[in-house]
């Protein structure tokens, strides 16, 4: 599900986008239409929702509605969502979703309300649907139905310590080979730091590994079969696991974003490949503000094909008040709110916000923010939303990718066996699609 975002924006033939663009600005649109109602929002307690919920009171004042927030960590949020949706319960009106991960699955299960008509007919004058990233809207469209509205734009990017690179006589890496060479040199030049860190936790690996695979020129599926044992697949598995095994921190197989950000922020890692969303966490306290450089992940044989995804806000198909729920979704993804979130370091899924003078001023305040925005611009133009296998059982496919990488990091299997075992399991999943 590759999305050449800006490049293909004009040509996208998806009906949902046409529908969204052809919105009717109802002259009588009234934010107070559902005054007195309570909307329940199942939130993933991540930086995106944290930034959004800073303005919860504004929503309640604007609409007269009450926003009830049910917030959990990501996995617990999904667990709760699965329980609620399987029980056909209406207790959740709006929930956060990752179309790249569960979109196909949730759409096939009928858990998303179709937002197409609401986004067309029931929008405030200043909502500017057409200003939303059309590629992210496309990625959230399944079977012709628009299932969620984008909250942010994100992807893994490359954080590196400019002071350590300077001390070790290194330039910013341009290719994956440069990253390997830099890690090797830093290992001897400054033994007090971990040369390279990225995700090693099994279910979390696919997020960063996909970028590596695509940069190298690999694909997850070829001719309907899992393709990890192809030459490119094995190269990606070998490179990713070797970087973590030989240059990563001890215990990297348990590392996800929390550990990576903590290690890098504390000054104990020279290079980190982690989500753009972590900028705020990594820069917290200011220690890394002046000695960090940011890049999209350096190129492989296929150039740069960064992973680009975004959280979306979906209305539950079991909600008894989808119209009121839509008002919350609309407010949360409006230009005004997304601009406020952008000023807190949440990359906006609206080019108009990215070009807003106030936002540009914030970006220009620190060189690292400029580099962050430049990396996000590359993500927006060259990004692929394929994280794991593009199949209904995408979450399960990520487990097998992670298992293969861990087998190699822990030296539990030779590469031929690790990829063959993964391919066998993944072929079974593909066959179920």
């Amino acid at each position: 599900m590759k999305v050449k975002m800006l490049a293909t924006r004009v040509a996208l033939p998806v009906f949902a986008i046409a529908a969204v663009s052809a919105q009717a600005h109802a002259a009588d649109f009234d934010w107070m239409k559902f005054k007195g109602k309570t909307v329940t929002f199942l939130a993933n307690n991540n930086p995106v929702s944290q930034a959004l919920l800073t303005y919860k009171a504004d929503f309640e004042k604007l609409t007269g509605m009450t926003l009830k927030v049910d917030g959990y960590q990501e996995q617990q949020m999904r667990q709760r969502l699965v329980t609620v949706m399987n029980a056909n319960s209406d207790e959740v009106d709006v929930y956060m979703t990752l179309p790249s991960r569960e979109g196909e699955q949730f759409a096939a299960a009928g858990w998303y309300a179709d937002l197409t008509a609401m986004a067309k007919n029931d929008v405030a004058k200043d909502y500017d649907s057409a200003g939303l990233s059309q590629a992210l809207l496309k990625a959230a469209t399944f079977g012709g139905k628009l299932t969620s509205m984008p909250m942010n734009l994100e992807g893994p990017i490359f954080y590196y310590r400019t002071d350590i690179f300077k001390k070790c006589g290194l330039d910013a890496p341009k290719t994956i080979k440069d990253v390997e060479a830099a890690a090797e040199k830093i290992k001897t030049c400054d033994s007090s730091v971990t040369p390279f860190v990225s995700r090693g936790l099994k279910p979390a690996v696919a997020y960063t590994f996909s970028n590596m695979l695509h940069n190298i020129g690999g694909t997850y599926i070829a001719n309907g079969k899992s393709n990890l044992c192809s030459a490119k697949g094995k190269e990606a598995l070998d490179t990713y696991s070797r970087l973590l095994r030989d240059f990563g921190p001890p215990g990297v197989v348990n590392y996800s974003f929390q550990q990576i950000s903590a290690l890098y922020r504390s000054g104990r890692a020279a290079m980190a490949f982690e989500s753009s969303n972590e900028l705020r966490t990594v820069m917290d306290g200011g220690a890394r503000l002046k000695d960090t450089g940011l890049l999209p992940f350096p190129a492989g044989e296929a150039g740069q094909v960064p992973t680009t995804i975004g959280w979306g806000m979906a209305v539950s198909s079991h909600s008894k008040q989808p119209d009121a729920a839509w008002y919350f979704v609309q407010w949360a993804t409006s230009p005004e709110v997304q601009k406020k979130m952008a000023l807190q370091g949440i990359a906006p899924p609206r080019p108009s916000v990215a070009n807003d003078p106030e936002y540009r001023k914030w970006i220009d305040e620190e060189p690292v923010r400029k580099e962050w925005q430049a990396a996000l611009d590359v993500l927006a133009t060259k990004g692929s939303s394929e994280v794991g296998y593009p199949i209904v059982a995408n979450p399960q496919s990520r487990e097998f990718i992670g298992q293969a990488v861990q087998d190699l990091i822990l030296k539990q299997k030779p590469i031929d066996q690790a990829c063959a075992d993964a391919d066998k399991a993944l072929d079974a999943l593909i066959a179920l699609n």
Binding site: Q75, R78, Q79, V82, T83, M85, N86, Q105, A108, A109, G110, W111, T194, L201, K202, P203, P249, P250, G251, V252, V253, N254, Q259, A262, L263, S266, R268, V392, A393, P395, Q396, E399, Q403, Q406, D407, L410, Q412, L432
Partner: protein, 295 residues
């Protein structure tokens, strides 16, 4: 009041009592029975990745037999159960003896000794996750300060089970100690006085008197801990999520992932019912043992 009126009144009283308690009894039975019956029913269903449901008969149970992850999970569950139980019983009895004999120990210190099991397991898991982090944690810092090699702790496929067992034992040994302490306080002093007159050494007294008399209490503690240990979930979920690889993937963790991450609620129900049967089996075995050691 006639002679025949009394039995009628008693019957009426019984009926009234039954009628009054019926709602509470019905509610309690329903609360226990409904989830169990529903899970049994789910165990005969199959769910596709998209949540579509169909009757599967015994397919979920026959799948268990050929599922490597099930057998691996069972092995991990049993290994963790045995290791943790042994640690907790040995150190629990030891801690109880310390607390029993140190009668002048200040109350605050006694409270401190038994405080870990009052901590929510999620908090304990998070705390140990930070302490045992191989790069940033205090555990390796202390080891290295003492000139010892650092460990990967929870990130090592070899050491993850002993490490998790240690974390659980840190938390639950005081609970075992508290139960055993109660048992110690109820032992008859006359037996000890007789042993003292006979000139028995402290070690002999412990081996021949204290331990045999304490066995029913220790088995009770073992039953209580067994139920928890076979259902082990929270600390593993917080610290390793079943990893590295599948080195700490207990049946409970595996069932959770199958159900809530892969959405196959039917197979997850079959897994959990199998685990429930194992827990029942263990409790029955320990109950028989308790009967054998009762005095």
């Amino acid at each position: 009041m006639s002679d025949t009126a009394a039995p009628l009144t008693q019957d009426r009283q019984k009926l009234e009592m039954a009628a009054l308690s019926a709602p509470a009894v019905f509610f309690t039975v329903a609360m226990i029975a409904f989830p169990v019956v529903y899970t049994i029913w789910l165990g005969f269903q199959t769910f596709s990745s998209t949540g579509k449901q169909s009757f599967a008969g015994l397919a979920n149970y026959s799948k268990l037999i050929s599922d490597y992850e099930f057998w691996h999970g069972l092995w991990i569950t049993i290994a963790l159960f045995v290791l943790s139980l042994v640690l907790q019983l040995v150190f629990g009895v030891w801690l109880a003896l310390v607390l029993f004999n140190a009668k002048r120990l200040p109350g605050i210190l006694r409270s401190l000794f038994i405080s870990p099991f009052m901590m929510p397991p999620v908090v304990a898991g998070m705390m140990w996750l930070v302490i045992l982090d191989p790069s940033l944690g205090a555990a390796n810092y202390i080891l290295q300060s003492l000139g010892l090699p650092p460990s990967d702790w929870l990130a090592s496929p070899t050491w993850v089970i002993p490490t998790v067992a240690l974390i659980d034992s840190w938390q639950w040994t005081p609970y075992v100690a508290l139960i055993v302490l109660g048992g110690l306080q109820s032992l008859p002093p006359s037996v000890y006085e007789a042993a003292q007159i006979d000139g028995a050494s402290p070690l002999k007294t412990f081996q021949r008197i204290t331990l045999p008399l304490l066995l029913p209490t220790i088995v009770t503690a073992a039953i209580l801990r067994s139920v928890d240990l076979l259902r082990f979930f929270d600390i593993i979920y917080i610290t390793t999520q079943g990893g590295p690889g599948n080195a700490s993937n207990t049946l409970n963790i595996y069932g959770f992932r199958v159900g809530f991450e892969f959405f196959n609620i039917g197979y997850a129900s079959a897994l959990m019912l199998t685990l429930t049967a194992i827990v029942f089996g263990a409790v029955l075995a320990f109950n028989r043992l308790r009967g054998a050691v009762a005095w």
